[in-house]
């Protein structure tokens, strides 16, 4: 666990689009998270391998440099055990299946809203206390 019950939980938003990072960061900040951003899968892997720890990672599918499935697979190989939530545009079922199998806990459709993430956040808060 990245944070104790007195601290804010930490979320990493991995997406190449500024608009999505801005919206998702704000949504999670309102939900009580400290947020950090990565522009592609490789940045997320580099952050975690340099010791950054998160309670939850929101991972885009299609990104330059390194896509979501490869980054998720590498993070799981590095024993990153936090929740990793895939966030996708409407994409082919095969691609989503591959993404899930790379080690996602869940996969949600963009854009995230409070209603879409509330049960995940509640689950996280319950495991923390």
């Amino acid at each position: 666990m990245a944070s104790t019950s007195n601290e804010k939980m930490k979320a990493l938003i991995v997406d190449d689009e500024t608009l999505i990072r801005k919206m998702h960061s704000k949504l999670l900040q309102i939900a009580g998270f400290d947020t950090q951003e990565a522009l592609n899968g490789k940045e997320a892997v580099d952050l975690c391998s340099s010791g950054a720890v998160f309670d939850i990672i929101f991972m885009d599918l299609v990104m330059p440099v390194m896509k979501g499935p490869q980054a998720t697979r590498l993070l799981r190989e590095m024993k990153v055990a936090c929740k990793i939530i895939g966030v996708t545009g409407q994409t082919e079922a095969d691609e989503i299946k591959e993404f899930r199998e790379a080690g996602l806990d869940e996969c949600l459709e963009k854009p995230l809203t409070h209603a879409k993430i509330s049960s995940i956040i509640e689950g996280l808060k319950n495991t923390q206390t």
């Binding site: 689009e17 704000k26 545009g89 963009k110 854009p111």
Partner: protein
């Protein structure tokens, strides 16, 4: 005009944009992310949408002009535009993107060019309307008021 009248005009105008189908509920979701600590949030996000869309439409125009059209590239641009327009709730732009992607799948050049014209048209309409909404926002803030949230 006093603050109350400006706020009423803001709500009425937003409601009209939703009724006419230019915006959908996602715009409301976006407005709910804006608070007093960040009163320009919607404007900031929509400005990013304008920048991205100007760039994508320019790229699409260039890509579709080439002798051998790379439909994979066209589809990737349209996919991105569809994602960003859904994220801010620009419903009519998003709907044209859906038709545009079908043309890409069929490798239909004429259809793609027609969709590009339609998407440019819808984008310029919603851009003008959002710019008017932001000018109302600025007047409300300058008059010391807060931005009301539209609810369906």
């Amino acid at each position: 005009m006093d603050v109350n009248q400006l706020q009423k005009r803001f709500i009425d105008y937003t409601t009209t944009l939703v009724q006419e189908g230019f915006l959908d509920d996602q715009f409301n979701q976006l407005q709910q992310l804006q608070d007093e600590s960040n009163p320009d949030f919607v404007f900031e996000v929509v400005s990013v949408f304008f920048q991205d869309t100007d760039r994508l439409l320019n790229e699409l125009g260039k890509t579709l002009e080439l002798q051998n059209v790379d439909f994979k590239k066209v589809d990737a641009h349209v996919h991105q535009l569809k994602g960003s327009s859904s994220s801010i709730g620009a419903q009519k732009v998003r709907n044209v993107c859906i038709a545009f992607r079908n043309c890409c799948e069929e490798q239909n050049i004429e259809g793609s060019l027609r969709c590009l014209q339609q998407v440019k048209h819808e984008y310029s309409l919603v851009k003008n309307k959002l710019e008017y909404l932001f000018s109302l926002e600025q007047q409300i803030l300058a008059a010391g008021g807060s931005i009301p949230t539209w609810n369906e």
